[in-house]
Amino acid sequence: MNELVFFINNVVVAGSVTGSIYAIGAVGVTLIFSIMRFAHFAHADMMTFGALMVLVLTTAFPEVGGAVGLPTAVVMLPLAMALTALLAVGIDKGFYKPLRAHGVKPIVMVIGSLGVALILQGLIRLFAGTRAQSLYIAERKEIFRLELPFESVTRPIIVTEPQVILFILTLAAVIGLHLFLNRTRTGKAMRAMSDNPDLARASGINTSRIVTITWIIAGGLAAVAGTLLSLDVAFKPDLSFFLLLPIFAAAIVGGVGHPYGAIAGGFVVGFAETLAVFNWAVLLRPLQQHFPDWLELPRNLAFVGTEYKIVVPFFILVAILVWRPTGIFKGKVI
């Protein structure tokens, strides 16, 4: 039964963690896609920027968390979200808006966002270096061990404090987004603009204000996703494209322009990744005695090695583009 606990720790918990992070990232990408109709390649670097802001603030005020009873990084998150949102709006004003004003094709916006991605990447690594750094500076990562009340189980289910925070924050973000999109006038206007931009304009909706709000939300969510990722493991400034692919895959799987789809897609991609790198031999080993003699179980029975993890979102992307390019929830943009 210990094997089952191993499975829960390595697939269920890890998959939910990765899935949440991808989901929050993908929501941002999908919102940008639905309002401005281009794939935002700088999103992963925006996430990294958000995490960097948390790191900087935590380094500057390492003791704040102790006073509140939360990790300092989490206390600093709202401020980092605001800063990242500000950056996102600034980038839009400085780089994307002039391109939009020229009426360029979406693909030119994509290239522009790649340029922005490189600028952010360069700046971040110039100042923060390329080393991984922990967001836990003055405190320790707490680890919860849940013992299961079965005799055959000796190992506990392990959940860390940042993972608990991550689940709570993800839930809060999803509910908050849901309420925003369905209950507020601005949220509805955002959905209207994603449905039919011309009619939105003809209804007197101020579309450039909607664009700004989209960037604020996308930037804030990017900061959340980047921080959660860094809390779970460490702040890694060089992920960029390795983060971008699963996030795009998630957004496309969920149907581009479809926020709930992006959340579902995030979990699909997250779980697919953890399932693919999981060593299935561990689960099969207890059953070894029931196998015929000629069937010898190899030591490593994972679908892909961790070094090939990026193949998984790519494979999902290719599969969805071949069979259902509109995504599982039928997105608006093909």
Partner: protein, 430 residues
Amino acid sequence: MNKPATAEQPSRFPLRELSLCLALAAAILAVYAIMGGAYSTRMLVEAACYAILALGLTIQWGYAGQFNAGVMGFVALGGVCAMTFSVPVNEAFWASELPFELGRVLLYALAAIVLVWGATRLDRLGVPKTLRTLIAVVLALLLYLVVISLLRGVTDEIESRVGFIGGLGLPTGVGWVVGGALAGGVGYFIGHICLGLRSDYLAIATLGIAEIIKAFLKNSDWLTRGTATVSPLPWPTPGPGELGFVMARSIYLVVTALIIAVIFFLLHRAYNAAWGRTIRAIRDNEISSAAMGKDVNRRRLQIFVLGCILMGIGGAALTSFNSIFDPQGYLPLNHTFLVLVMVILGGPGNNLGTIIGAVLVYLIWIMSEPLALYLMQLASSLGEGLGWVDPADMQSRALQARVLVIGLLITLVLRFAPKGLLPEKVKHHG
């Protein structure tokens, strides 16, 4: 409302082209004078290889409006072919039973593919479609696990006993041609999936495949020695050992220049022929061209594959010239974004502009390396005075500064000079 897209501008004296060429020549001469012949010729050969890559990208982006964000992957494919075909045969590998084992696994893989393909046809035997899909998926997963475990066994054996499978000891040119073909094949696969969809998806998919190709080459020690790198790689021309650096590199330069000339000539003819007109009509007016029928997607695929082939050849030539195959040396910055800057700065869709852009940008790129290092040193000495702790990795910071500059260049050119130094000489409509 559709004016013909091909109305040429009245022929005029190519003042702009000429002055750009002259300026470029002056810059090159200056580099020769300062840095010496061996260094400068090396730079020119590399610039020529980049020009081949840039031509590949300019026909995808400039002719057809397809954005390939994974040039690096196709470069690496060309590189690995150049390496595998030209490096001497590994006798230890071929003397063992390992080639046979490897062949057996590949045969199993083939059999597995046939089985899965068969399973997808089960519905013709009356199996319900959902059940068929379920059977096919489960079967594919199981067979994949079997084959991959067998393959892991064999490749581990190869790595521990003979290092890697070695090369084929064939002439370098064969590797270049195969490299182009392989890159074209991968391009066909990607293009086939993405070209009917939004152009963004092609960018995402190419970005992904490039990272995957790199991860594969880096981790497949049995095939490429991975991080241990393979060197030296033979040249198609006499090496520096026989003729000295300047002479040997000059001959290499002649070879690459010839390749460019051939590509340039063929592209020029194709561009002005019916084929090129159709391609541009598709780019400029996708919707009305779609009304012409399904031909559109085939044309788009053709041009994408053609671009990938050029990237494969250019990558092979570049890797052979560097004489070392190091999978970690393929970087998105150096092999994707640098090429992108060359194309958008030179003039997308203008072959001459692209070549000039390639040489010019590469020249600046190479010259900026010492400059970036110097600036970083200056910044850090200033930083020490201000109490900014200076991390030891100056080299990597200098690299980041260049990432920043390339990013800035891309955004600025797109905004202020979207047509490049030499705009495409086609009258656009609409």
